[in-house]
Amino acid sequence: MTRPRFRTLAAAELVAMRGRRLGWAVVLAAAGSCVGGLAMAALVLPFDAASAIEASTVVVSRGSAAAVAVAVLAALAVAGPYRDGSWMHAALAVPHVGRRLAAGAVPAVGVGVGLGAVAIASAAVGAALVDASALRALPVAAAAHLGAIAVWSVWLVCLAHATRSPLATLGIGAGLPLVAEPALAGLLAITPVADARWWLLPGIALRSLAEAPVGEGVVLDGPSPAQLPLLLASVLGWTAAAALAAWLRARGAQPR
């Protein structure tokens, strides 16, 4: 018998997710993403002068439902095994920490990207209802948002491994970018994307990066091309920090 291939290990992680009640989270997120895209279109449509700019806001209205679903998924499927002890079997079968973490991340990232695709498809339908010309922004917007949701999924998987707590994963993963960061920004009356210091915050950096490539005049207030390197460095830095935290925790003392 030889070492199982990476693809097989990733498939095993997907099989190991069965029985963890993840289906309802995925279905709800998909439904929420569909409704989100169409609801944005419904908000814009009543305006008589609905133009490409308004329509583009529909295109970039990515699925917050998908982002929250990824947090739920990571909490249940990645942090959950630390609570019920099933993480041991993954560690016994794949002692190499990096290989194990990567194989475990594939299904979560895959589901996250899938949900992101549903959100983008829904937004495209909504944008077409407002102004079909806005769809020219769709390919770039879709690629940017799928990339963002993939990075977001990786962060949440790493967070789950680092905290080993479903509650902490859900609390930090959903609460920080969706509640804490916007609240802080609002409190200080600073527009997050206009001030580079705010890009050091992970949620804002990722959101800004996802909106950046859509193009001037199409989205509302994106960063300039000159500011992109800083934004990219912030996202890559947070990704590296999350991966390092997960790796160090997995190498150290294990939970009983």
Binding site: T8, L9, E13, R20, D84, S86, M88, H96, A253, Q254
Partner: protein
């Protein structure tokens, strides 16, 4: 070929308390090695160190290699941890399917393992399984890839008498076929016939390593069970003659430090009629108690 398991200089500390202090022993091929010790002696920590579930100082090798370096770990070593470690909402088949895939096996392996441990008809979720069924499922996980080494933490816990007989026979056949077994157990007298060798861990260090018979010889304290028509007088006389006397269930006296003829002479001098005088072979639990002291 190198020993199945080699452990040297294992150290571990939790919360400032030393749990393992230079633990070293080997587990040979073709034998069942019992890993014994009082609660908190460090058995589970040691077993987890062998398979890389716990970090710390020292070296643990399986077939000459660190567990993490094995090409196909599941094919070399099957592990039955002290807890099942499964999502409560999964079925037994789903749990084993994931283990089989991770080990690079087909899903037929999961069905075969379930059948072997007598769970093939059980399709409820794991949260509904009994303690014994969970233990059988954990054993199925260890046997899944037909490994060459088995590391089992309290495998008999929760099993019914039939399950215990089945597991003993399975492990005996496994070792006779050349496999290596390291198992921890607390029901020592029940496990004794199965154990070819013993590693006795106490206070984080190996107190004994060798054949079970050698352990029994080293720590044997022959006991004679005595019944008479006047137990209190006889007990006092035996103690005066230098014996250590304990009352057992019923009216029996367990007498150490005096052999049967000497006890008979004391009784004759005293004029007490003996109704039973039975030298008893030292059990493994007696020898263990003599080796490490009785637990509170």
């Amino acid at each position: 070929m190198r020993e199945a398991i080699e452990v040297a200089g294992l150290t571990a500390a939790f919360g400032g308390r030393t749990v393992l202090d230079g633990v070293a022993f080997t587990v040979p091929w073709g034998a069942v090695t019992g890993f014994i010790g009082v609660n908190g002696a460090g058995k589970t920590t040691t077993l987890r160190r062998i398979v890389g579930l716990e970090a710390g100082g020292g070296v643990a090798r399986v077939a000459g290699m660190a567990y993490a370096d094995l090409e196909a770990p599941a094919a070399m070593l099957g592990c039955c941890p002290d807890v099942l470690g499964a999502a409560p909402g999964q079925t037994a088949a789903q749990h084993l399917d994931a283990l089989a895939l991770r080990a690079g096996l087909d899903r037929g392996a999961a069905r075969r393992a379930l059948a072997e441990v007598g769970l093939s008809g059980v399709d409820g979720r794991i949260r509904t399984l009994s303690l014994g069924q969970r233990r059988r499922l954990a054993i199925a996980g260890a046997l899944l890839a037909e490994p060459r080494v088995l590391v089992l933490d309290e495998p008999f816990d929760g099993l019914d008498p039939g399950g215990r007989r089945w597991l003993s026979a399975r492990l005996r056949a496994y070792a006779d076929a050349g496999g290596a077994v390291l198992l921890s157990a607390h029901a020592l007298d029940e496990a004794e016939p199965l154990l070819d060798r013993l590693v006795c861990l106490h206070a984080g260090a190996v107190r004994f390593e060798g054949p079970t018979e050698a352990f029994l010889r080293a720590h044997a304290a022959p006991v004679v069970l005595v019944r008479s028509l006047d137990q209190p007088r006889l007990a006092r006389a035996l103690q005066a003659a230098g014996a250590v006397v304990h009352r057992r269930s019923g009216d029996a006296l367990a007498v150490r430090e005096l052999d049967a003829p000497a006890i008979a002479r004391v009784a004759a001098r005293l004029g007490v009629l003996l109704t039973e005088l039975a030298p008893r072979r030292t059990s493994l639990s007696d020898a263990f108690a003599a080796a490490v002291g009785a637990a509170p």
